[in-house]
Each structure stands twice: as C-alpha cells, then as structure tokens.
Amino acid sequence: MRSINKVAWSMLFSTFLALSIAACGAAGGGAASNQPVVIGATLPLTGPLSAVGPILKAAYQAAVDDVNAAGGIEVNGTKAKINLVILDNTSDPNTASSQATTLYLQDNAVALLGPFTPPLTIAVSNVAERLKRPLIATATPVEAWLAGRPSGWHYSWDVFFDENQQTNLVFQTANLTTTNKRVALFTDTEQDGITMGKLWLQKAPQYGYTIVYHAVFPVGTTNFSSQIAAAKAANAQVLISQMIPPDATALWKQMKSLSYNPIVAEGEKGASTSTWPQGLGSVAEGTICTNFWPRSSGYPGTSDLVAKSHKAGFTASAETSGFVAGYSITQVLLDTIVRANSTSPDPLNTAIGQTDKTYTLGPIKFGTNHADSIPAIMVQWQNNTTVQVYPQVSGVTFEAPNKGLA
C-alpha cells in the first residue's frame, strides 16, 4: 500500500497546508468597517496579574460607553462611534505582544490603551514602537517603564507614579509615629520589587532609618518562616514589603502565627486590592500601602467615577484609583483624536504629547520622556476600607502600632 500512502499523503498534505494559509487568512481577514473608530487593549484578565486587568477593562469600557452615549466623537467632520476591542493576554508578555499586533493590524486600532505592570506594558510598547502607532498606558511605574527602552519611547506614553517619589512615602508615614527606625525589607525578584527595593535601600539613611534585614525571594513564595524569624531577631519595628497579593497574604498570616508584630507594616502592591481584608480578616487592619489618586483632591468627575467604580464591583481605594486612571487615559486618548481631528498615527502621537488638561485622575501633561508622573499618596486599611494617611487629611488619624499583627 506504499503508493496509496504517497497519494493519500500528498493530497492530504496539500489540502492541509492550503487550508492553513486560508485559516491564517480567515482568522486574519475581515477588515473592520470604516465607520467606528477602533481602539484596543490587551489586558491580563486571567493569570497571576488578573487582579487589576478587569478593573482597567471596566474603566476603558465605561469611558467609551459614556462617549458613545453622548453621540460619539467628531473626526474629520463626521460623528463616529468608538469601538473598543479588548483581548485577554493571560498575564503572558508573549501573548500581549502578539495580541497588540493583532489589534493594530487586524482590527485597525488607531491606538491602544495599556495593560499594566512593566513586563506587559514594555512588551506592548515595543509593538507600538515597531508599528509606529500610539499607545497610552497607566498602572506602570514610570522608572521601570523608562528602563525598558533606554533610548526613549517615541510612540508610547505612560501616566503613573514615579517610584522615586513613591518610595519616600513609607518613611514619611512612619515618621508620624515613634519606632526604633530599624527596617525589615521584604522584596520579590520581580521588576517592581527590584526597582523599589533599590530605592528604599537608598532612601532609608536619608530619613534616618536603617535597613537591618533584607529578604529577597521569588514571586510565588509561600513559606517565609526563616525570613520572619530573621526580621524578629533583628528587632525591626518597621516592615516594608513589595510583593503580589497572594504572597503578601501568606506573609501576613505567617507573621501573625509567629508573633512578629512590627509597629508599621507596609504591603506595597500586596495590600492594594479588596482581597486583602477578604483573605485576612482582622489581620489586615492597619496595613499601609501607596495609592496614586487622592479622592480628597476633588478633581472633576470624582464622585461620578467613584460611583461607577463601585457599581462595577471595585470598592477598595486602590481599585477605584485604577478605575479612575483607566477612565482618564481613555478620555485623554479620545480628546486627542478630536483635537488632532485625525486618526492617523503621527498626528495623533504628536497631539498626545500636547495634552495639558485636568482629568479626574488629576492634571495630565507629558514630559519629553513621554511619561506623566502623578503623585502617590499613602493609605491605610482601617475597618476594611482604605483612608489616606499621608499627606495628612483632616479627620483621619494614622493608626499605630499596627493592630492587625499585634
């Protein structure tokens, strides 16, 4: 049957490979209709980073829906609706990269809105640079993002806090109470952990603090027994940590079990979602973490967006801030399209750089490095909500010593 095999083989092979090229075409084909203006985003809706992905998705969608409800935006003399395409990159930079390419080339997105955290945002920014199409991102610390392309970004933009200012906050906050100024630093090996870890090491002496113990561990660490024992032995009354929520939850539970009770305990990134009190109960009380949007500033649209965020299910203050940030950058993009009166990449890109307006997130104006640093603040978990403790606002007292771990 050898020859039949060959005939069969060649016929089927030809069919399959022809089909595969067709499949490429089918999956790729179908040009978007000319009418609506398409913008897109590739977000981590599943996977380890799925805590924030849905927040940005809801925020982008809310901004687009609001604009569409008002009739759309006016470009080139006609009113066009916005079509927002969102893809799930499962927290994988490779997928984010290929999805960004899909969005730009297949869906003809005139611009993309960002995913978050440096690994994903840098991957998507690289696609934007290569295809020379604009991207506006948020929820990506500025220094880490800039480090992704030392020669500078030309088509990508980022609106978020700068780690330089953000890492000052914990010392400024700790100064609100009395401690022995001995610090235990717990950072993971991820980008944010390394960047912020270095900055904290640098700044501690400037504020009169000493880092007496520094634990470095990979993302996904579950057991912290030896590190906690070392921190206890070093008599550190201030704890600074930068880790993802699951790891932070594990650390806090173990600190409680092993009776390590720092006076000030910061859970950077880890304590920023509503899963913090959900997972820890009363142990969550008193944890501080940074936020980047002071509700008290009363920027335009504050109460409206807060309500929208709560309605979408995001009630923790860091989540609401993320919602506001996502909504605001979408507005920036849409405003830019109107101002530039064009959907072509270069005019659009130039126009983004000319943004100078106050949105709900605050005043947004990009520097020459394409980043806009917004000031970070420190909040504290008190009675299952977060309140701003630094810079101090009236009516809020900083709780110390930390009650959850006492």
């Binding site: 030896s226 079990s257 092993l258 899963t275």
Partner: protein, 289 residues
C-alpha cells in the same frame, strides 16, 4: 538560630509529605506519573472552600464531605480515562494526565474566577513553641497528618487483604489477574485513594497559604522533588523525602537567600537523578548503557 531553621524545616516538610503521598502511591502501584496531581490538590482546596462557605464547618472537618467526593472523582477518572491507556506506556499516561490537568485548571478559573482564595481557621494564625522556636500551628497539624497518612497507608497495604491485592497488582499485573484479582478495580480504587490523600494535602495547603487556579503546577513540581528524593513509589520515602526537602529549603533560604531556593532545590533534584535515581527507598531503576 540554625537549630530553629531545622525545626521549621522539619514541620514544613510534614506539609510537603501530605502533598506527595498520593503521587508516590500512584506511581508505586501503576507506574504512572500523575501530572494532574497539582490540580487534585487545588481542586480539593476549592471543594473545601465551597463546602465551608455554605456550611459553617472547619475546613479540616469539611474533609468529611470532600473526601468521598474526591474518591469518586479519582475512581471514575482512572477507570474511564486512564485504565485503557495503561498498556500504552508511561508517556501516553503523562500526556493524558497532562490533558486532565489543563482541563481542571481552566475549569477552576471558569467556575471560581482568578482571585486567590484561602481557607480560614483560627489555628492558621497561631504558632506553637517547640524547643524555643515558634512554629506555625498549621505546620504541626500537617506533620501529624503526614505521619498518620503514611502509617495508615502502610498498614492498609500490609495488613488488609485488599492491600495484598494491591501489592500483587503492583508487582505483576498479569500474574495478579491470573489469580483472580480485578486489576482495573484495584487501579481505580488506588487512584481514588490517592485523590483522597491529595484532598488532605490540598486542604492543608489552602489553610497554610492561598490558592488560585494557577497554583497547581508549583505544588506538582514540589511533589516531584519530594518523591524523587524519597524514591518514587515508596511511602516511607515520601515521608523522609518531604521532611528532608523542608529542611533543605529552610536551611538554604537562611544561608543563601530565598531567591536561590528554587534553584538549589531543582539542582538537587537533577543531582539525585544522576547519582541515585531511585532515591532513598525506591526500587533500583534500570539505566541505559
């Protein structure tokens, strides 16, 4: 200080034993590496979570409900999907259990969402002082559970008639079948039992740490290290291996730093495979010339 790390590692190792016993049992009886072991652990944790949110039970007590369910699932999976594949060799089983793991992982994400969950109980927040060192209570509980599980399985396999049938089937399936032992049934029951053991391990994980749909693979990897060190297929090997791995992890974390912990543990795994692939108590492994 070093002594405290030893104690910490000792009890942490108890937890590692509970997650690995099921895996080693399945390999010992069926020569099958169950790549879905991680998902069994996490699945049991999810089950316990579901039960405890509806019925106000302590998570360990919820095992009363979780265990029978896990047994049925394990038994069904083995008889329907895996039994017909046993004769095709280990690689086929690897792929099949891997496919199951994929399905389970996405099912968890679809049903429970992507957030990290945890099982809560008062004893997860307390510690016990042993020889001057404070150890998490949950680790001590896990250690006790580990010993009970290993001793229990040992007694079942040596004292009960069914245990003898299991050992016969493990030794030589064809001969066992020829004396009337229902080998497919034995395999099914053993996989069910492994699922039950994993249920205990998974619940302990859920209590000690959090878990999410993607938590499976990391626990699977750890289980691998434990059983390779102890000897794949050996119960006592799992006990000793788990404790040793716990100690190694804690000691290296304190000396070298936790960021290299995984590197050292996996380099250790490869080293064991090169020097002594059968681990501490496993059967001698044939090696290529």
């Amino acid at each position: 200080m070093f002594f405290y790390h030893l104690i910490d590692g000792f009890f942490l190792g108890g937890l590692y034993v509970t997650i690995a016993v099921g895996l080693t049992l399945v390999f010992g009886v069926m020569k099958m590496v169950n790549l879905a072991q991680g998902e069994f652990l996490i699945g049991a944790a999810y089950l316990a979570y579901t039960v405890t949110t509806h019925v106000n039970l302590d998570p360990l007590l919820s095992l009363i409900i979780v265990v029978p369910i896990m047994f049925v699932i394990g038994y069904a999976v083995q008889r329907v999907i895996l039994n017909p594949l046993i004769k095709r060799g280990q690689e086929t089983l690897l792929v099949a259990t891997f496919g199951l793991a994929l399905i389970a992982e996405t099912a968890f994400a679809l049903v429970f969402g992507n957030n990290t969950l945890a099982l809560n109980a008062p004893y997860t927040l307390t510690g016990i002082t042993i020889f001057g060192d404070t150890v998490r209570t949950i680790y001590v509980i896990a250690f006790v559970a580990a010993v009970l599980m290993v001793v229990g399985m040992y007694l079942i396999l040596t004292r009960l008639r069914f245990g003898k049938a299991v050992r016969a089937a493990a030794e030589d399936p064809a001969a066992a079948a020829s004396v009337g032992i229902d080998v497919p049934l034995v395999y099914g029951v053993i996989f069910g039992v492994a699922a039950v053991l994993s249920a205990v391990g998974g619940t302990l994980i859920g209590l000690s740490y959090g878990f999410g749909p993607t938590s499976g693979p990391e626990w699977l990897l750890r289980s691998f290290v434990v059983i390779v060190l102890g000897g794949m297929g050996s119960l006592w090997g799992a006990l000793l291996g788990g404790i040793l791995i716990g100690v190694i992890e804690e000691v290296t974390a304190s000396i070298v730093g936790a960021q290299f912990r995984d590197l050292i543990v996996f380099a250790f795994l490869v080293l064991i495979l090169i020097i002594r692939p059968q681990g501490l108590f496993g059967k001698k492994v044939s090696v290529a010339k």
